[in-house]
Symmetry: C2
Subunit: 378 residues, 2 copies
Amino acid sequence: MFEEGTSLKAKYGAEKVYDFSLGNPNIEPPEKFKKALKKTITDSTANFHAYMPNTGYPDVRASVADYLRGEQKTNICGDDIIMTCGAAGAINVILKAILDPADEVIAPAPFFVEYNFYVTNHGGILKTVPSKEDFTLDINAMRDAITSKTKAVIINSPNNPTGQVYSEKSLIDLGLLLKSAGEKYNRTIYIISDEPYRKIVYDGLKLPSVFNCYSESFITTSYSKDLSIPGERIGYIAVSPEASFKDKLLQGMALANRILGFVNAPALMQRVIGSIQGASVDISAYARKRDILCDGLAACGYEFIKPAGAFYLFPKTPIDDVEFVGLLQKELILTVPGSGFGRPGHLRIAFCVNDDTIINSMPGFKKVMMEVNNRHTK
Amino acid sequence: MFEEGTSLKAKYGAEKVYDFSLGNPNIEPPEKFKKALKKTITDSTANFHAYMPNTGYPDVRASVADYLRGEQKTNICGDDIIMTCGAAGAINVILKAILDPADEVIAPAPFFVEYNFYVTNHGGILKTVPSKEDFTLDINAMRDAITSKTKAVIINSPNNPTGQVYSEKSLIDLGLLLKSAGEKYNRTIYIISDEPYRKIVYDGLKLPSVFNCYSESFITTSYSKDLSIPGERIGYIAVSPEASFKDKLLQGMALANRILGFVNAPALMQRVIGSIQGASVDISAYARKRDILCDGLAACGYEFIKPAGAFYLFPKTPIDDVEFVGLLQKELILTVPGSGFGRPGHLRIAFCVNDDTIINSMPGFKKVMMEVNNRHTK
């Protein structure tokens, strides 16, 4: 997608191409980040760029835990944190540590398509379960998908590609389901809660903490989206302080971080984010983009669930999604078919772009919808 | 090892513990690196910390290729380079791209112990083959180890843990062997040449380029050792411009970089190293440490091959290596048994430490050798 956007922009001019295909934040990192980066590199500590323990700098891990204690009302400490190369690194480290061959991991669909690769990397099998029509969790469908091989459920809230968030009640219900299934099959079934968009929520929404809903759980996250630094590969794993095998999990994940070739999260970025816990870009800018996009598309006849978080909109397509995305591309509007996320009949619009890109794309979005509607009425 | 050193230092005081257990460079990064880092963060380019293609910034890859063209007299271009999270990331990316289940990878022993994990991560099997008494390549032993499942040979020159380097003739012989074995079994057998210590060589030695010895080859490396920045996780893969399936390999590795969870090499560090190609710490400082250590240990009766590169010495132990390392540890001298590297009867001493650590450890090294010798003469 990255390369396709680049080549179209080279051909038609960047301002003529409306690229909604990538979750690459266009808002600059906050001043707090830039100041912290400047300050950190003038730190004269010896061995500043040297190896540290595979889990990360102890003071950075403590600083992350301090923030989580306040934000999630959880009794976590630095030892429960492992700094990682982004959330992608985090999830791979967890899966390497917990999966046995042919273990199954369940994900509600639509889902972030990389999960399939991550599970396969470590000998597991991803089973997707449709979420409800409004993209909230379908606990009954999940119950039907659990087998004696289920090792984990991976959830992503706020969600990529839908922008939906999961309620505290649904997390508690999921936890109860996994507890009872775990007892039935005599094994621990984990929740991996992938939360890189946690700070990007709208309308004053408060997100629940998975740790307070289910003890056998992990949080994975990164600073890619909320600080606009996805190229830097910095994130972490937090293990529930109540997890039954916490010490073994932490040892296994420290080893996995090393042997998968990550070794440790990048040193300089660890120090930077350690000093600005809680910082984020101006979320109201994303709220504004969401509103411009939703209002515009609603007026053109698109149907969608208004995103509660993240910077994705996942409208329905009136015809086959791949065909519809192809029609939009002829208008130089780049989006991704829902079938790529395990939910055909939709398309993903990443609205982490300039306001003008959204505004100027509207005639194209309208034209394609009208064409398709005219076809149907002929 | 990291944690053990830390705990002994806390107990006895840092200056009383002689920690030779880790390849964690103690020399500060060069001024050139520090200046480039300062300059890079003042760059006002928009989307500075954003995603870039999974292979890295095109201009950084071109800059790496420019350097390699001059240093290795090879006709490489930026498209043949993939920026990675260190050499550990690089090797995992290659193995993910080339290994089929149960494929075999051969490594001369002693060997960097992580290779075993890396090969296993991707469903392969590591077969070690003893190198010669002086730690140079034993081509005949390698010939005997090749089977119809052999997919690659991984070599490391200058070598960890021995400091040995492989001659151009031995690389040409290895290439001829793999070419003929590849023809016999109708498959491509690759050389992965892992070269993070390439710039750390002594006595004016010039290293050969594997690309000029065998076309089906990769170079993996990092800036960890020569710039003293192992915590930053920055390195690269170079593919031989003559490799038969170069385009497929590059596509496969770009995908592997993404799906293994690395996504891309850290953005800021890419830009920094792109601007200072060829820079390194003062290698003469390591040469001095090598000489102090070798002269001191020779005088105490230790037998060893003087390292031609890297910052490791791999002396013989007169008794079982684990026992000998245990005796040294009682003198607060931390080293690693050769059996950990697939070569019992030796120990690894990492001399990337302060000169004083080397000098002040000598009484301990001497005491243990005398004790052991006295035992034998009783």
